[in-house]
Amino acid sequence: MATAVSGDDVVSLSDAPTRPMNMIEAINDALDIMLERDPDVIVMGEDVGYFGGVFRATAGLQDKYGKTRVFDTPISECGIIGVAVGMGAYGLRPVPEIQFADYIYPGLDQLISEAARLRYRSAGEFIAPMTVRTPFGGGIFGGQTHSQSPEAIFTHVSGLKTIVPSTPHDAKGLLIAAIEDNDPCIFFEPKRIYNGPFDGYYDKPTKPWKDHPDAKVPEGYYSIPLGKARTVRKGEALTVLVYGTMVHVAEAVCREKGVDAEIIDLRTLVPLDIEAVEKSVEKTGRCLVIHEATRTSGFGAELVSLVQERCFYHLEAPVERVTGFDTPYPHSLEWAYFPGPIRIGEAIDKLLEA
């Protein structure tokens, strides 16, 4: 039987008492702590001020820190991100919110050509220490413009750090680390699991976070280093490389199938914890890569390549990959798109039979 391992690699974690939180509360708590600790932290975005964000991630913050530190912005992603670059160059640590990851494209030039390159092109004279928070992924009937998982676009860009938490505990610690980081970070929040972990069956409601061990979030400040994966559970039969919402789906499928899988939650895609990946695949000899984003040129392709290049002689079977389909995210058929238990189960069977 696999054992749950959680919360390793956590630094600065005192014996603080814990409190059950869902992911939105954990993110709100992280922002609250950083606004309190560092007067240079600024929170901005569409509807984040008085209203507290359409997902309530910034609720109460404007009241507490005032309108010049937490404020609404015009509907202009190019403006939000471009302005954040200038604020970062001044010396602030802006935390802009892009309301849905699907809206980020008008701001891409500012992210890709500007934020990501500022340090390089100025040889370290100007930096953009900003953390772009954005809800991403499907499973909430959001249609094609409220469901996308565009993480691969950002992992392809030199100079950006890409972060995807999968639990309230990690969301808080990783967000704090991202805000403290001097490089521009993209923080993708898997909105399907904002309010509870999700085990992949569309006809079952999402469970509340309160009973989950990773929802016991320490009070106060702690951070989780970027570039360190989390072993969700140890196992011998195969390695599952996964992040975000799909961590919980993978866990449920392995549990229900009784597979002794080692599940690695990558937590940050860039920088990637290659050591954790190699160690696990060398032990199990089998590897499954899962993400919700579309298949072609997805981040899974990168993971499969890395495993093939670095662990080939330890492999007992070809690396498998389970992803969303190469279509825009459909509205009424979203549960047909979603890489759920059937797709994952079949891939596991194929891996174990090989």
Binding site: P74, G79, K161, I274
Partner: protein
């Protein structure tokens, strides 16, 4: 329902697309009489604290100070001392001498690329003199005058242009894409207009922190078509950001004339009206008018009266860069016929008119500046020129992507260094 295709719609008039065309092409005789040049001194100067709408008439006018009589006129006369005027004249002349030398350097193969600002020197030099030295400049690619005016060492500029051992940017950036935090000169991007939202963000940050520094950004008239321009103006207007937007309308965006950015219908300064911010349209070849307008806008921003959009109406006398030949797309006569003259000539004649300068002094200064540029060039060449060897350790190629080197870049750096030993064993 009307039938689709040619002649569809039956008796309705056929629609037609308008594609702008500049007035003159190669070989054409130039006549600039359609450009109204108002009398110097005729434009009113509202107080810096005025309502933005008070500047609306100035968005379609042309603020001028120096008249044909070489005298300063009217309320926009900044009343600068002769010493200050000589400083501005000297900096403009130095920029021109520098451009001349670097252009030749490119033709001699010492670097890959260069961009002159001939004819537009006032829009960066006089503007820089009107700003505080620590106001952050967010330049486009033709504001070498800001660095020169702030006393940035020419040798450093040339090191950057040559991508040599001395290049502080480690040979990563195109020539002329300078960066200097110490001189409050923001790193230049090749993607146009991206610096405008950044300048706005910098200005907002300065205001959030209760600082007194403002931001000033420069952009060409062609790039006002970029979304960034409009995002920047929206944010600046919404938050009353202490920022000055300088649109250098030099008439040409490579081979596309300003009509492709919308100049046939209105002015670029008039963009300010729609955003409810102050706007000024200024004779960009009149250094006194440029100084006065930039100072007005800077004072306005500094006293929390908000952003200003300034259009500097000028002319790009040379090609866009060393990579294009303007004789292929515009009449060679344009440069000679430009109705607003040359900024260096105009300031020189003004100083002579004041009895504070002479042709002989100008000649001596030009000689001295040419020598200074030549000496700086020689000094920089000691650090190497582009193409003569690889001046930077290969490991530097991988630094500054992130603050710390992650494993994948360290691995790739090892590969690059190994390849170097095989490919270039002598280096």
């Amino acid at each position: 329902m009307a039938k689709q295709g040619e002649g569809g719609g039956y008796n309705r008039p056929r629609l037609a697309l308008h594609v702008p065309e500049p007035k003159f092409r190669p070989g054409d005789t130039v006549d600039f009489s359609h450009i109204p040049v108002p009398e110097a001194g005729a434009q009113p100067r509202p107080d810096e604290t005025c309502a933005a709408s008070e500047t609306n008439p100035l968005c379609t006018a042309l603020v001028r100070v120096l008249g044909d009589d070489n005298k300063a006129h009217g309320p926009w006369d900044p009343r600068l001392s002769p010493d200050k005027l000589r400083e501005i004249l000297r900096d403009m002349a130095l920029v021109r001498a520098f451009d001349e030398r670097m252009y030749r350097g490119q033709r001699q193969g010492k670097t890959s690329f260069y961009m002159k600002c001939t004819g537009e020197e006032a829009t960066s030099v006089a503007a820089a003199h009107a700003l505080a030295s620590d106001d952050m400049a967010f330049p486009s690619y033709r504001q070498q005058g800001v660095l020169i005016s702030r006393g940035y060492p020419m040798v450093e500029m040339i090191n950057q242009i040559y991508s040599n051992r001395g290049d502080k940017l480690k040979g990563r950036q195109l020539p002329i894409m300078y960066s200097s935090r110490g001189y409050s000169f923001f790193t230049i991007s090749g993607n146009l207009a991206t610096q405008l939202p950044q300048a706005t963000g910098f200005a907002m940050a300065s205001a959030i922190k209760g600082d007194s520094r403002i931001a000033a950004a420069w952009v060409g008239e062609g790039s006002t078509a970029e979304g960034d321009f409009h995002s920047a103006l929206t944010f600046a207007a919404v938050y009353n950001a202490p920022v000055v937007f300088n649109v250098v309308n030099n008439q040409w965006a490579i081979s596309s004339f300003s009509g492709f950015a919308g100049s046939e219908r209105t002015t670029f300064a008039a963009r300010a009206i729609g955003y409810g911010i102050a706007g000024l349209r200024v004779d960009g070849n009149d250094p006194l008018a440029v100084y006065a307008a930039e100072r007005w806008a800077a004072d306005r921003a500094r006293s929390n009266n908000g952003p200003t959009l300034i259009e500097y109406f000028t002319y790009r006398a040379e090609g866009h860069s060393t990579s294009d030949d303007p004789s292929q797309y515009r009449s060679a006569q344009e440069r000679e016929e430009w109705p607003l003259g040359d900024p260096i000539m105009r300031l020189k004649l003004h100083l002579i008119e004041l009895g504070e300068w002479s042709e002989d002094q100008q000649k001596a200064m030009d000689q001295e500046l040419a020598e200074a540029v030549k000496a700086a060039t020689k000094e920089a060449e000691k650090n190497g020129i582009l193409g003569h060897g690889m001046h930077h350790p290969f490991h530097t190629m991988f630094e500054d992507v992130f603050e710390e080197l992650p494993w994948h870049l360290e691995e790739q750096a090892d590969q690059a260094i190994r390849e170097r030993k095989i490919k270039w064993p002598q280096q």
